[in-house]
Symmetry: C2
Subunit: 171 residues, 2 copies
């Protein structure tokens, strides 16, 4: 379980998600082929009912930030209780082999071409409407949900308080 | 416990918070005295480590939105496991009586003058750096954390999955 938090920011509650995206080769400066990025994220929340929108904070210095900035679209794959291993497996650099990322099978999202991981509870595909750069060390991506699927309605998502992982606090 | 969700947006995980703010009388069009607003919110997340920042989504058509938009500062009070009653008590219109809101005692935040509820696990005071209006039905307030206190380091926050309340999904 959690170590004792040091400040109140450690008491905010999050789930665990794998954010994915695919930038087309022609949109990239340095790569000829499509480029896929994926990573574990916690700072995700809904931010509108109608239309359904989500907001996600991504480290400025990251592949995900750079790639979503080119692709202007992303997917959020929601981790369930049985998906705990994925937190670590996607906390490192991503390695794509055919239709697998870091060993996990994926399909291509119908609306955004973002990788959709087969193992998760479900996913949402988003088109970026705003990219907000603040004074902070993360960038905010605001996206409209253009496609979504709930595969396991009864299954509970994995949330921070049942793991030893926590992304938050003050450095 | 939760009813079975209808879509994947219902599987995002949040905590419960009371957002508060105080606008000075001189900044308001219609009121001579200071105006305090408070309400239950779930769509809150950290969005930077350095400097520490948070992002919060607030219904467009609400007192909180209007008042934070004038005050440019707010506080987030974090609910603990014993604070479940506060979810409903702050879901309605706020009523201020001396140093009490909806029956709960508060102090005035040292940095932002926002009401700090005595009963919560702790709080953070924030100065607004950006207000993001999207096509959606909520406004995003991005704030720098300028003061914070963790009163109960060992106590666990209340999170959605242990209540029957859920703020999310598709309308």
């Amino acid at each position: 379980m959690h170590t004792v938090p040091e400040n109140i920011l450690d008491k905010l509650t999050y789930g665990f998600y794998i954010a994915t995206t695919r930038a087309k080769g022609e949109d990239l400066d340095t790569r000829e082929k499509d480029y896929v990025a994926a990573g574990t994220v916690s700072w995700v929340m809904q931010s509108s009912f109608e239309p359904p929108m989500v907001t996600m904070a991504i480290q400025k210095d990251s592949d995900l930030n750079e790639t979503i900035g080119k692709a202007y679209r992303f997917a959020i794959n929601v981790l369930g209780k049985d998906d705990r291993d994925m937190i670590n497996d996607f906390a490192k650099d991503s390695s794509v082999d055919g239709q697998k990322i870091n060993g996990y099978s994926f399909l291509n999202g119908m609306k955004t071409d973002s990788p959709i991981l087969e193992k998760c509870l479900g996913y949402m595909e988003c088109e970026v409407t705003d990219i907000i750069k603040t004074d902070g060390d993360h960038v905010l991506f605001i996206g409209k949900v253009v496609n979504h699927e709930l595969r396991e309605p009864e299954a509970m998502p994995l949330h921070e308080w049942e793991t030893s992982k926590h992304y938050g606090g003050i450095v």
